[in-house]
Symmetry: C2
């Protein structure tokens, strides 16, 4: 089987000729920009509606230096915990983009490979970019900055100097920790993963902040960061049980999932023997026998907001440098 051959498609010149007007008249009728007579415009629009004419995107791009595409940079993820987040980001960005006649061009790139991004920028295939994961030492941000292309990050950027949209991870974790502390839960352990990701730094800050508000500091022996493997988590959980932690605050559902399994295996009762909470609800624990206290963020809203801000930037509007979105603290059985 072979691909179909290109069909001859109507150009603006065909429309102009068939209507006996100039191409500029047709162009201005469609865009509504410039001076154009009411009657002429109606005649052109009627003709187009009836006979069909669709502008050639490449020609428009060339003439206007505007692609009506936005680039969406996604990290390589493959855990069921991360997937829903980026999935929702993408859906939301796509939705907002479509609603504004933009298409999204998706680039998936791991850690440090900046070439796909550079290609997109250099070839001027997009009018702006949404970056969906930020690192402490981010290699994409400087590149984007230097390119002077409008961009917004979903997630915060070290040192600022970029338009950022994020869930208020710090505030949320702080509130969750505070609530636990106010319920007389002491000895709250922190189990964190990859600390190079900004989101994880924010969450940890929130944990510390809650103690700070009370003029206290958490017991350093209860703090585990950079738990990057199941075996590391296992070791941490075992140690924490020995250290009599009263609560295990997990940085995300990946860790939480593992913690819950380990505790179940060991026959530790939740919440009687130890309480458990997660800093990011991801649906993956929905089937778990007991319901888990967690933080809920509206990811679709996050994506929509980021995209909207980007579109405003592209339009040359003034936008806030940092937008933090609201969260919900969901208290469930696991911290009763």
């Amino acid at each position: 089987m072979k691909g179909g051959e290109a069909e001859r498609v109507k150009t603006i010149q065909d429309v102009a000729r068939e209507l006996g007007v100039s191409t500029s008249t047709v162009s201005r009728s469609i865009s509504g920009k410039g001076r154009i007579g009411k009657d002429t415009r109606e005649r052109v629009m009627r003709y187009i509606n009836e006979n069909g004419y669709y502008p050639n995107a490449a020609a428009q791009s060339l003439a206007q230096s505007k692609t009506n595409n936005i680039g969406l940079i996604l990290p390589e993820v493959d855990t069921l915990v991360d997937m829903p987040f980026f999935h929702s980001c993408m859906y939301a960005v796509e939705e907002m983009a479509q609603a504004n006649d933009y298409d999204i061009l998706v680039v998936i790139t791991s850690g440090k490979d900046t070439r796909p991004l550079e290609r997109l920028i250099n070839n001027r295939k997009v009018d702006g970019m949404v970056l969906t994961r930020t690192y402490e030492d981010d290699c994409f941000v400087p590149l984007l900055k230097e390119s002077r292309i409008p961009f917004v990050t979903i997630g915060q950027v070290k040192g600022g100097e970029a338009v950022q949209v994020d869930s208020d991870n710090t505030g949320a974790c702080m509130e969750l920790t505070s609530v636990l502390l106010s319920k007389k839960v002491g000895r709250i352990a922190y189990l964190g993963g990859n600390m190079e990701q900004m989101v994880n730094q924010c969450r940890y800050e929130g944990y510390l902040g809650a103690y700070g508000q009370l003029g206290k500091k958490p017991d350093g022996k209860l703090v585990y960061r950079n738990l990057n493997s199941k075996t590391m988590i296992e070791k941490a959980v075992e140690e924490l049980l020995e250290k009599k932690a009263e609560c295990m605050l997990c940085q995300d559902d990946f860790i939480c999932d593992e913690v819950l399994h380990l505790l179940a295996e060991k026959g530790v009762n939740i919440p009687e023997d130890v309480k458990v909470a997660s800093c990011h609800y991801s649906r993956i624990l929905d089937n778990y026998p007991i319901t888990v206290t967690s933080l809920k963020f509206d990811i679709m809203q996050l994506g929509r907001t980021a995209c909207k801000i980007l579109l405003d930037m592209i339009d040359g509007k003034e936008v806030p440098e940092k937008t933090l979105l609201d969260y919900e603290v969901i208290l469930k059985e696991s911290t009763k």
Copy 2:
């Protein structure tokens, strides 16, 4: 904060002028097409490598009637079961596209809304399309066919007449059912979901086919299709327990997950009291106490193959109309 103003960027004419050659020489040096002297070409390439020049994609598109973009149509899904499938498809298509200097333009569209797709086609923003979910009564396929744009479907199309790539769902389900039958498991019940999706029709055919090979037919009372809600699944499971089904063959992990929970709630032992298998492994049952027999498909391979075939079509090559990819039958505890 405001978006940066457009930077003046080097055009092919700048390069030509600075090198004292014509634009055609530069163009031919880069593309390698047409007659070009070896020395001149090297000089141009060296200059470009050192000073940087990146062709304007819009101008190229216009001149060549080629966008170097492919469209990827994703359905609106939000279950943890469906997500990994489309996620992997996207990653694979993106990977293959990047490797061939294409970018992917993602359109997310639910059921019957064909407008986003039409826009993409009419504006000629893509050279071809990958469609990632097919329905019995698919509204995208006729549209794509009529547009004469190259496209391939991931999933089969009723009535053929499209380039299709799919896991061999029918063959896989047939083999799984046959294996169970050969192990003296009788009374295999079938629990299926939305039958409008082609993938589900294929799986059901496989189930029937295994019986057919033996000159038999399954007990019609054990067949449930169109189980579209948890309550429907619950009712089916209860009835099947009464009807003494020996095995519950679930069309996918969404149904299987629910079935496993219901059985656990009711204290039914697997595999002693009833066996359970799923027609599509999705990782979601990984945490389940007992391991589950299922079919495993290589989704990345599926995506890569689909994309490769599309690229071949765009290049005007001959491609197979239907490609079915291999599968694995994974036997685990749940059917012991």
